[in-house]
Amino acid sequence: MSVDLSPVMLSIFLPLFGAIVAFMLPRAAGAIGLATLALTTGAVIALARDVLINGAAILPLGGWGAPLGIDLRADGLSVAMLGLSCAVGLLVSLSALSSLRGPEDARQRQYFWPLWLLLLTGMNGVYLSTDIFNLYVMIEVIALAAVGLTVLSGTTAAVRAGLEYMYASILGALLFLMGVGFIYLQLGRLDFAGLAEAEPTGALIAAIALMFVGLALKTALFPLHFWLPAAHANASAPASALLSGLVVKAALYIVLRLAQHMPFPSETFLTLVGVMGAGAVIWGSIQALRAERLKLLVAWSTVAQIGLIFVAFARAGEQGLSESWKAAALLILAHGVAKAAMFLAAGRIKDEIGHDVIRDLDRAPIRPTLAQFTFALAAISLIGLPPSLGFIGKWALMEGAMAAGYWHWVGVTMAGTLLSVAYFSRVFAGFLRFDRVRAPVGEHQGWALADAAPLTLAMMAIALGLMAAPLLGFLEIGYALGEAK
């Protein structure tokens, strides 16, 4: 009798077991973590192959089937998100191995792996879930693990930021739970398929609003972004990369899924979402322009970029979200990869020159060239310059907005792009200025192994842009939106 290990199950359970083993054997945590990531990536690749050949895969847990039981479902979008979390996760893990190497990092190392693997469990669970209460539990798994990672460095600033993050996370999850309550009240069931049949009544609107606000809080949409910059800026580099690159994406993904299954929200609601997104773009950029520290700048840029993704949601016109979700999905993927690369690079820069004060970057006699180069590559994708995936995402976003005649969203996107050029060029100037250094500058520091992972990520962010067409084709596998409407 052989056990049937479906890759759907494995992509959730492998990290779970990995976390357990890594927690039990702290000394071997790094090796276990890396092995787990590799195995999980293998499972996700197998799953991608399945989905590519057979279309969306559905696994009714316990054999009950929705709505009584919980179904796991893997379609193109889910698998793309799984791929994002595994690919980025694997590279961040590699980088964590090298950055948490010192004897003073022993404790960080010991706790990093179990928390990170639990985080991966939660995220993969979110991407495969089709049940809104299950989503609530999953976002709590993510929240606790993510807070644990935020405060890993143990500084006062990190703990203070972690506490704010915790409050925001709990509140967001509870708002979501309240939304779940209203859904149950209205429909008597909690699976995605049930949502599609719903009539837009008061209770349902309340549910949508509650869940949206909860998720907006989790994903730090302006003006609910207050917790994010401090949390992401004060965490240690691998943790920041995971938090900014992956964790906020889970909530974004849920928004995307709900938008797919819920009755079409009113135009006013969408406009409001767009206005919030636009506010995030502007406010996040302004704060990034004013930030004094590199990691803080990067964190604020996350706020701005998240806003842009919400603009992508908002520009849904008469056709509903049927087209705009693609732009949003592309931007989510692009931001995930590029931001992880950027945070890792920023961490490397900070390690090498001993601080991350932007004003004094150009005083450093040592220039970690490769990390700076990585940072610049990641910035190219985040700004949205061709041929990066970020560019393709913005292209899709603006194309849709233009086709629907929403010129204001085009304007917001362009303003965001220009502002991002402005704040990132502050950093480039610090990298490339040399006349404030007295000692001779040894610029070419050779190839540090620690730079390999962020550099790979940054190059992925660029190269994926060239593969956007097959990527989009993959994303559309099993996407039920057309049928649902």
């Binding site: 209460f133 606790l144 006062t156 703990v159 506490l163 709990i170 309240m178 779940v180 309550g181 149950y184």
Partner: protein, 96 residues
């Protein structure tokens, strides 16, 4: 006037009170407590949804969900409180 209406309204009120506390309270401990109130409010809503007019038996699924919610909430509370304790110590150290 049936229990579900009464307790449903109470649950929403409790949720609202918790919300106010979570956003307006300055004291860290109080904010945790406010969040806990929110979760109780959400629990009320689910249980009210499960309630059936007496001869009928209630729907067990929301009951299970609320139990799950309670356990999840106590976990989150524990982490938040640990953070508060840690932060308090760190701040006390910094002041010295």
């Amino acid at each position: 006037m049936t229990p579900d209406m009464i307790y449903g309204a109470a649950g929403i009120a409790v949720f609202g009170i918790g919300l106010v506390g979570a956003l307006c309270a300055q004291d860290r401990l109080r904010r945790v407590l406010a969040l806990k109130l929110c979760s109780v409010g959400a629990g009320f809503l689910l249980l009210v949804g499960a309630w059936r007019e007496p001869p009928g038996t209630p729907d067990p699924v929301p009951h299970a969900l609320v139990i799950t919610g309670i356990v999840v909430m106590v976990s989150a509370t524990a982490v938040a409180l640990a953070l508060i304790r840690r932060l308090h110590s760190l701040e006390a150290e910094d002041e010295r």
